[in-house]
């Protein structure tokens, strides 16, 4: 039993090396996509965002949004859900706990 544990402990550096080797290119791939898709908006993009939001409001008022196809509506709903999830992630970070408030 002790010998098996010793052998396992001796294999830990190889396992760690293998894990690092495995994860490095995947981390690079993740970073390659995250650098374009997940960055916060630059200050130049904020007016564009505001105008996009106003277009959305105008479309809602003019009734254009009633013409969206179900497929587009589902896709937009998924995007909105993702934006909502970011709010909950922010709340988790703000309350410093994963589940519930640790008071």
């Amino acid at each position: 039993m002790a010998q098996a544990v010793q052998k396992l402990v001796a294999k830990v550096p190889t396992l760690v090396g293998a894990a690092v080797n495995y994860s490095k290119p995947r981390l690079a791939t993740f970073w390659y996509y995250a650098r374009v898709e997940l960055v916060p908006p630059t200050p130049a993009e904020i007016p564009k965002a505001i105008s996009g939001f106003q277009d959305l409001l105008k479309g809602f008022q003019s009734g254009r949004l009633g013409q969206t196809t179900v497929r587009d509506a589902l896709r937009n709903g998924l995007v909105a859900t993702e934006v909502l999830m970011w709010f909950y992630i922010g709340e988790i970070i703000g309350k410093r706990g994963l589940i519930g408030y640790d008071v």
Binding site: K7, L8, K11, T14, L15, G17, A18, N21, Y22, K24, P25, R26, A28, T29, F30, Y32, Y33, R35, V36, E37, L38, V39, P40, P41, E45, I46, K48, A49, G52, F53, L56, V79, E82, V83, L84, W86, F87, Y88, I89, G90, E91, I92, I93, G94, K95, R96, Y101, V103
Partner: protein, 123 residues
């Protein structure tokens, strides 16, 4: 956004986990680690070219601002709610402590009284 990783590059042959691998003289377990070392690691570009990974999509500025402002608002909301709930919880704990003390005091008195009353010569 969530890209599939290539699992099949390192094929895991599970029967090797239970038999001694005679070719290398390795023991039965932890063969996956040694196999992963013998196969050259795929570079990031190889992974991207081998799988059908599209180039990164340009997210619209509205979605970007919405996401990050939602994150910020969530952060602020979480912090403020925590600060609001913390003193309330402390107060409740204090009240609970006091009530517990009172209750234990009463129970002690009750027990003493019942012992005094049940004192008979038949015990």
């Amino acid at each position: 956004m969530f890209n599939l990783w290539l699992y099949h590059h390192y094929e895991t042959d599970f029967k090797y986990l239970f038999r001694k691998q005679k070719a290398d003289g390795h023991e039965g377990y932890s063969v996956t680690a040694s196999r992963a070392q013998r196969l050259p690691p795929l570079s990031a570009e190889e992974i991207r070219s081998k799988s059908n990974m599209v180039p990164p999509v340009q997210v619209s500025p509205l979605i970007k601002t919405a996401r990050w402002s939602a994150l910020l608002i969530g952060l602020i909301y979480g912090k403020q709610r925590y600060d609001y709930l913390k003193p309330i919880a402390a107060e409740e704990r204090r009240i609970e402590e006091e009530e517990k003390k009172l209750r234990e005091e009463q129970e002690r008195i009750y027990k003493q009284l019942s012992e005094a009353n049940s004192d008979t010569i038949l015990k």
